[in-house]
């Protein structure tokens, strides 16, 4: 992390982000998006891929939030009833 002042963070290619680099990475990203798996989407525009990536990440965050809620409820429910608690705690401990 030191020396960032004296030279660019990456190698000399930092000042020349090539077309190839971007064109290489965008399809890779696109392949991770759920839509791409259903349609054979050949090279959507960069803007579209980025936009869908943003919304996909946001929806994944929401799913994590919902699952956290669900897990919290499940764990709370076990404390009231000791037969359940035995099973749940055996999973957690």
């Amino acid at each position: 992390m030191s020396g960032r002042r004296s030279r660019p963070r990456q190698s000399a290619s930092y000042s020349r982000i090539t077309d190839d680099q971007i064109n290489d990475l965008l399809p890779k990203l696109q392949a991770l998006l759920p839509e791409a798996r259903h349609q054979s989407n050949d090279r959507a525009s960069a803007a579209k891929v980025l936009q869908e990536t943003c919304s996909y990440i946001r929806s994944l965050h929401r799913e994590v939030d919902d699952l956290s809620e669900r897990l919290s409820e499940l764990l709370a429910a076990t404390d009231t009833n000791s037969p359940q608690a035995a099973v749940i705690r055996s999973l957690l401990m």
């Binding site: 992390m1 803007a47 994590v64 939030d65």
Partner: protein, 202 residues
Amino acid sequence: MIPPHSSAAGDASSVAGDAAGGTKKTKARRQSPPESKWRRGAQQRIYGRRLLEAIRARPADPRSIKDAADSALALTAGGQTRWSRAVLFGRSRRRRTVHLKAGGKIRRRQLRRKMVAEASMELPPALRRKKVRDRLRVLSKIVPGCRKLSAPSLLEETADYVAALEMQVKTMRALADALSAATLSERDPVHDPHGRGENLES
């Protein structure tokens, strides 16, 4: 499924060690594509164990559980990516993360000026359009620890982050399903003649 040991502490220190020389390492190393890495069963099991440990160590409210899930995910990532390091080091401070640097100074402003200058000059045509740059900026705010990255690095971090999040969701859902099945079978033993609850411990 129950972890006999606690590896969380050990991993945290190794992550800290990676962070010191992190930039050089990620540049030189060719990592396996994020999709295959995060979809391997081994990673899911490792994450599942860490998730359980982390949940156990915290109160059971939703925010703590989400906190546990994110910490466990960053640990499982192994500190090889910026987003995972940002998540781990963001734990010790509240929301506004101060990016750790050797000199301890915040160089955000300096680098942003540089990035904007680069952006207007030597970019490939795809990146010169304002729409794309705007979307990149939004993306850099969504992925942890990536606000100052160049476009190729940001895209790489994003790919890894997306794959990791998918695994996180899959594992949490499996855990929730297992717990609710255990809860249901406890409540209604008539419908559980084969001891479904026991399968959960295998």
